[in-house]
């Protein structure tokens, strides 16, 4: 063993810290560049529209079905809790607030990461592996502007729309269980909801959350695809990382956003 070998762990540690810092720096620069490209991206709205269709439309089925089942469960669990205090007619309000403020944006973001985020990462990673991004660069077309930016805006616009669909279908699910199955008065169900849900404080907070989650999930998916090793194993690892990183980021940000919203 050479005398320097005993310190090789220090060199490895230094290298891994430096690599992580470089990755973080690249991600930050990519993020800033993508937002700096906003006017140019929105001017070519056809590209963004295609992505809204691709990301939003194809995620619609899973979002709607999940929303319905979450609504069913909220109806049952909500009724179980509320009837202990003799206020089961407030079920509509409970279902609506839970969905609009919390479950709609969060579950939609988690499902979006699994459905659309993985598709984005795999698409970009395979484009990289097939030298399509290099080819684009050699044609003097910036892949960040042409490929990444429209996808980011497609995701950011699609997310609140999907969260709205999730909440609406969930409320319908809660109504089916509460009113049709259990027999709560339909008038109380809807009037409590109408009176108790504030457009700005409740719906607005949900929209802000889903916009933040839209940026987070789509950016993580794009970054992972763009930085994937151009091999089958690399693309597979990047796809997995998208789900893990995006889901954890959504849950962490949800706590921070909720704490901030309660404090103002």
């Amino acid at each position: 063993m050479k005398p320097g070998d005993s310190f090789s762990w220090l060199a490895d540690l230094g290298l891994s810290v430096r690599t992580k810092l470089a990755e973080l720096g690249f991600a930050a620069r990519l993020f800033v560049k993508l937002f700096a490209l906003t006017p140019a991206t929105l001017l070519r709205f056809g590209l963004v529209r295609d992505q809204i269709f691709f990301l939003g439309n194809y995620s619609l089925a899973i979002i709607a079905v999940s929303g319905l089942f979450v609504g069913f469960v909220l109806g049952l669990q909500g009724y179980y809790t509320l009837q202990r205090y003799g206020s089961s007619e407030a079920l509509g309000l409970l279902v609506a607030l839970s969905l609009v403020r919390e479950l709609g944006p969060v579950i939609t973001a988690l499902l979006f990461a699994g459905r659309a985020g993985t598709a984005l990462t795999a698409e970009i990673g395979l484009m990289k592996a097939g030298e399509q991004l290099s080819a684009m660069e050699m044609m003097a077309v910036d892949p960040i502007r042409r490929i990444l930016a429209p996808r980011l805006w497609g995701g950011v616009i699609a997310m609140p729309l999907l969260a709205a669909v999730f909440s609406a279908v969930g409320i319908a699910g809660g109504w089916m269980v509460g009113v049709l199955m259990i027999g709560i008065d339909a008038g109380s169900f809807w009037s409590q909801m109408q009176g108790g849900v504030d457009v700005w404080r409740d719906v607005g907070n949900g929209v802000i959350k889903s916009l933040v989650f839209g940026v987070t999930v789509t950016f993580v998916a794009l970054y992972q695809g763009f930085e994937a090793q151009p091999t089958p194993e690399g693309v597979s690892l990047a796809t997995t990382r998208t789900v893990v990183v995006a889901s954890l980021a959504v849950l962490g940000l949800d706590f921070l956003l909720t704490a901030w919203m309660f404090s103002i």
Binding site: L15, M127, M139, A140
Partner: protein, 288 residues
């Protein structure tokens, strides 16, 4: 060899190294070469010899560690993004497997650079795309998707896409790899034809000796990060340099060793005998 004409691309003492966990890996070392205007220059050499790196340096996708890469007299490595993109509009590059956009049809692939860089009317774009597709013999395949065409056809579509903006320089990265004999002959003929009829400059990176020597005006053989031989195909064929001799005659014995350096075979297989160090892959210099 005498200077052919003015150079479109020049390398001036270019060194390029990839950074690695355990020090950097030198690919090109003090390389100087020039690519004459209007000619077909072939870049050859063993795998990992830095041929593709040369193309990436010309296209500005990599930057030289030291030295200058000049395209039409301008240093590509020192260009800002805008200037680099303007220079790239004067270049075309054919990637090894075509690198077609898999979500676009053959027509849309060829039309892509025109739609991105020009304000031409759809009718004019249609005419230009069909002319370029006709030049590569695929006018009839315009509606097909990349998944519906063969590897040879995909490369021809990529060639049509590379010439659609009428570049001054086309770089071909292994255009003959994996092609059947008919496609191979067609591809070689196309490269020569396009070079002569459009008056462009071509750089061909290839391992196919026969086809490449047939179409090239100048051959450069890279080894150990530098030039092992340079000249007309005939001059290179007649070279007495042992490495060039081994390469052009496809010999397994020579300066380029078959075995990757490692522990002696006797030690690995537990055989009795003298334990000797195995040799580096090239006798002449550093590894590539």
């Amino acid at each position: 060899m005498a200077e052919l004409t003015t150079a479109l691309v020049e390398f001036k003492q270019v060194t390029f190294a990839y950074p690695g966990a355990r020090g950097e890996r030198v690919i090109l070392k003090d390389l100087s070469l020039s690519v004459p205007c209007g000619k077909v220059t072939a870049l050859m050499g063993a795998s990992g010899g830095g041929k593709t790196t040369v193309l990436r340096l010309i296209g500005g996708q990599q930057k030289a560690s030291t030295g200058k890469v000049l395209f039409d007299g301008q240093d590509v490595g020192g260009m800002a993004q805008k200037a680099l993109y303007e220079a790239r509009r004067r270049m075309g590059m054919l990637f090894q497997f075509g690198a077609l956009f898999t979500d676009l049809s053959v027509f849309d692939n060829v039309a892509f650079p025109l739609r991105e860089h020009t304000d031409l009317s759809p009718e004019l774009i249609r005419d230009i795309v069909l002319m370029k597709l006709d030049a590569v013999g695929l006018r009839g395949a315009r509606e097909l998707m990349p998944s519906e065409i063969s590897g040879g056809m995909a490369r021809r579509v990529a060639l049509a896409r590379a010439i659609v903006l009428d570049p001054e320089l086309i770089m071909y990265d292994e255009p003959f790899a994996g092609l059947d004999p008919i496609s191979l002959g067609t591809a070689a003929q196309l490269i020569r034809q396009l070079n002569d009829t459009l008056g462009i400059t071509s750089i061909v990176v290839s391992h196919d000796l026969e086809e490449t020597f047939r179409i090239a005006d100048q051959v450069i053989i890279l080894a150990n990060g530098g030039i092992a031989a340079q000249g007309t195909p005939q001059e290179v064929m007649n070279s007495t340099d042992p490495l060039v001799h081994q390469f052009v005659n496809a010999l397994s014995e020579g300066p380029v060793e078959f075995h990757y350096p490692g522990p002696p075979a006797e030690a690995d297989f537990g055989l009795p005998g003298q334990l000797t160090e195995s040799k580096p892959p090239f006798k002449k210099g550093g590894s590539t």
